[in-house]
């Protein structure tokens, strides 16, 4: 049988699976051995099975109002235990530093007084919300869920691309991908110990409950969604179901005398913790956009009064702006007295005039990014941009230097991805998810590996036709779970003296 990797030509980037052609890295050896005997056609069949399963289960992503299945690639991405340990410590460190920064921003502002971060960054941040000033959440946590995007460069070194501490999404695909993979390729999992991911909903719920207002022993936690037309609606519904909490929309909520209620068939019921997946701007028409009906009027006042906790915190956006990103290594040193464990990508601050002039001169060799762009929007990749694109981005940067950063282009690592019937290298990134319960920052082992499906594409976002991969963190196999001995079923005994009790089934 032909080897499915025979035609695999490495793309010049760091390849996650292969050290050199035909030689898999250590953590991939078992996977490589298991995939080979499948053959190209078998691989394709399994991939089709996987795609159908996603359509049937409604694992979708809405883009421009169209509901599409989120493509899952059949070939997993594997991370060994040692590297995962580095990721865990590195991400945890950033979350702790960003928590400290947010606490400072909405408190004493010592970091600005001490000149570590210039005042102008605070004053020019569209996500700094005055209403959050002096408001400390019940257990001090503002980043209940964080998503830090990591990429691997040409030398195999992991870098942080950005931090997401507003409402990071994607974790539902981590859970669904694993479920689909264990059904489609069950034997792969028996070869080695892959750390399970299903702990996430329980961890998240515990963190949300821990953030409840003081004195509420058994808090009611809800998930606030903008509704069924939101791109991440699938995720909102899945998380609510897995946590066993209500998935509410703004129209289900009402505030009265600084308390929040949901409207049920038994009348109003108090709500104590809101895991909101609605942006600040739409959360409360009294404080933010007055025309928004996605949120609930009065919810911010209720939270400020300490009667309800909003997770993630209001105003967190001030910490994940891409310009603040450039200061995160400084923040780690300033607040934690530690050296950063995960490096940033080399980045230039365009709000500093000299840097800006130099960067604009070198624009054709840099990546230019809006500080506030999501989903790869507005990014100009210098080396592949047309002269017109470069001219227009230079103009945009000159008009608003605070609104842009420039980065050294990084050739993202590649991972074998099924294209047609054969694996081909495609660029990937990784978004690990962190949950902060106030005592500990826990990392979901794995996270979302996104794949740029078009050949050579460097932006992996789902809104650019990206797909994903199941992400395996290898660990030590634990002892098999204790099982309870069960007696063999006795032969069925059918008795003709049946009862007429079927009616009772109805209720």
């Amino acid at each position: 049988m032909a080897d499915i990797f025979d035609t695999y030509v490495m793309a010049g980037a760091w390849d996650e699976m292969f050290e050199r052609p035909g030689v898999p890295r250590r953590q991939y050896q078992a996977l490589f051995a298991a995939l080979q005997p499948l053959g190209a056609r078998e691989l394709r069949t399994r991939a089709d099975q996987l795609a159908r399963m996603f359509t049937d289960r409604g694992v979708t992503f809405d883009y421009a109002g169209v509901e599409r299945p989120f493509p899952l690639d059949l070939i997993p991405r594997v991370i060994d235990a040692a590297e995962w340990d580095l990721v865990t410590r590195g991400v945890r460190q950033r979350i702790r530093a960003l928590e400290a920064f947010l606490d400072d921003v909405y408190g004493d502002r010592q970091v600005f007084h001490d000149g570590v971060v210039p005042w102008r960054l605070l004053h020019s941040s569209p996500h700094y919300h005055r209403v959050a000033h002096g408001w400390r959440p019940p257990n001090g946590v503002r980043i209940h869920v964080g998503g830090t995007d990591l990429i691997r460069d040409e030398q195999g070194v992991l870098h942080v691309l950005e931090d997401n501490v507003r409402t990071p999404s994607g974790v539902s695909y981590v859970l669904e991908n694993r479920l689909a993979m264990t059904r489609t390729l069950p034997t792969l999992f028996s070869e080695q110990f892959v750390r399970p991911v299903e702990e996430y909903p329980a961890r998240l719920l515990a963190a949300l409950r821990a953030a409840a207002p003081a004195g509420v022993a058994n808090p009611t936690v809800v998930l606030l969604t903008p509704g069924v037309y939101n791109a991440a609606y699938f995720e909102h519904a899945l998380l609510a179901r897995l946590m066993g909490i209500e998935l509410v929309e703004g129209r289900d909520l009402v505030c009265e005398n600084n308390r929040l209620y949901m409207i049920t068939t038994y009348g109003r019921r108090p709500v104590h913790v809101v895991y909101r997946r609605v942006d600040d701007d739409f959360l409360d028409p009294l404080h933010f956009r007055g025309d928004s009906v996605l949120g609930c009027p009065g919810i911010v006042n209720a939270a400020r009064a300490g009667n309800v906790t909003i997770a993630n915190g209001v105003g967190n956006g001030v910490a994940d702006d891409k310009l603040i990103y450039t200061y995160v290594p400084d923040l780690i040193a300033y607040y934690l007295g530690e050296t950063p464990l995960l490096p940033n990508v080399e980045t230039y601050r365009l709000d500093e005039p000299d840097v800006c002039d130099q960067a604009l001169a070198d624009a054709d060799r840099l990546v230019l990014k809006p500080v506030d762009g999501a989903g790869g929007k507005g990014i100009v990749i210098g080396p592949v941009a047309t002269p017109e694109q470069l001219a227009s981005v230079r103009q945009a940067v000159r008009e608003d230097p605070r609104g842009w950063i420039a980065q050294r282009p990084v050739l993202l690592s590649t991972s074998p991805t099924l294209v047609g019937e054969r694996p081909a290298p495609r660029h990937i990134d990784l978004r690990p998810f962190a949950v902060n319960d106030g005592d500990d920052v826990w990392l979901l082992p794995g996270g979302l590996t996104r794949v740029a499906l078009p050949e050579g594409e460097l932006v992996v976002n789902s809104s650019r036709g990206g797909g994903s991969k199941d992400t395996w963190v290898l660990g030590e196999a634990s002892a098999p779970a204790a099982s309870v001995a069960v007696a063999a079923p006795s032969a069925a005994q059918w008795s003709p003296s049946r009862t007429a009790a079927w009616e009772g089934e109805q209720q």
């Binding site: 359509t55 049937d56 289960r57 409604g58 509704g227 069924v228 519904a237 899945l238 609510a240 179901r241 209500e246 998935l247 509410v248 929309e249 129209r251 289900d252 009402v254 505030c255 009265e256 005398n257 600084n258 949901m262 409207i263 049920t264 068939t265 038994y266 009348g267 019921r269 009294l286 009906v293 009027p297 009065g298 006042n301 089934e505 109805q506 209720q507």
Partner: protein, 296 residues
């Protein structure tokens, strides 16, 4: 008391029950009507009448199928009902079991692919999927308010469809009525081949799950559990009252007089269903009026 349910979700579940039942009933009705239309063009008119549609100009069986089964622009079509059920379910996925949601999602995705087959295949698929939906709801959902709102919607829709069917086919085609209600075999086992008892069977049989009385009793049971009544006298809940009154009237009616009073009786049943629907909306689905902001 079971866990409180968001009003919006309760309303959606109620409508899912109605939509799925409507798709099922329409599929049954079409299946038995279509080949009859070849012999008796007037079946065409009665078909539209049962569904409460203005009878189109005499149309071919194919055109009738197109409009009533496949046409997504026709709100009364099967495809529209399935789409509505699926879209509604998508908005309340977190309270449905994933098997129940998947059932509707897969039904919706497969439906249009069956339009090229003979209509019977399409209609049989819809009936089977409706049965699967309610079966999975029964097998995988707790007997809590979520489940009750689905069953409530299904029961009221069933009463509505059966009474329409009887009203249109009154004294004409009993075989069609029995088949369209999925009752022909049950009926024969109960009464033998005696046409005389059809009305009694479809209106009053307490054991046949698609009879009007059975459906009314089920709806009442749901409502009693949804709104436990603490009053010592009378029934405070107007939905329960509306249904109970008409159900009692049916149960105590004189069998011999039944066919004479039928038009009036069916009218009363339709009104009671409408009244119950309004009362349910008023009592349980009040989320829309709550947008106002009150207090500090």
């Amino acid at each position: 008391m079971t866990r409180p349910l968001l009003s919006r979700i309760a309303e959606t579940l109620y409508w899912i029950g109605r939509y799925v039942e409507r798709a099922d009933d329409t599929a049954r009705l079409l299946d038995v009507s279509v080949h009859r239309m070849l012999d008796e063009p007037e079946t065409n008119h009665s078909l539209y009448a049962v569904l409460g549609l203005s009878p189109a100009a005499p149309a071919s069986p194919q055109a009738a199928i197109r409009r009533l089964a496949y046409d997504l622009d026709e709100p009364a079509s099967i495809a529209s009902s399935v789409r509505s059920a699926r879209d509604s379910a998508r908005g309340v996925r977190e309270v449905l079991s994933s098997e129940v949601w998947e059932c509707l999602n897969v039904t919706w995705h497969h439906l249009s692919k069956l339009e090229t087959l003979p209509p019977h295949a399409y209609l049989a698929f819809v009936r089977e999927r409706a049965a699967l939906f309610f079966g999975l709801a029964d097998a995988t959902m707790s007997r809590d308010d979520c489940w009750r709102f689905i069953v409530l919607g299904r029961s009221l829709e069933r009463v509505d469809m059966t009474t329409r069917l009887l009203a249109v086919h009154l004294a004409s085609d009993w075989r069609l009525v029995l088949q369209a209600s999925g009752a022909d075999e049950s009926f024969t086992r109960t009464h033998g081949a005696r046409d005389g008892a059809v009305l009694e069977f479809l209106l009053l049989d307490r054991l046949f799950p698609r009879s009007v009385v059975y459906s009314l009793l089920t709806a009442e049971k749901c409502l009693r559990a949804l709104a436990p009544d603490t009053a010592r006298a009378g029934v405070a809940d107007s939905a329960q009252a509306a249904i109970g009154r008409v159900r009692a009237g049916l149960e105590y009616s004189d069998l011999d007089e039944l066919s004479d009073r039928l038009p009036e009786l069916l009218g009363t049943l339709q009104e009671a269903c409408a009244a119950a629907g309004e009362a349910i909306t008023k009592r349980f689905f009040q989320h829309r009026e709550a947008m106002a902001w009150v207090g500090a």
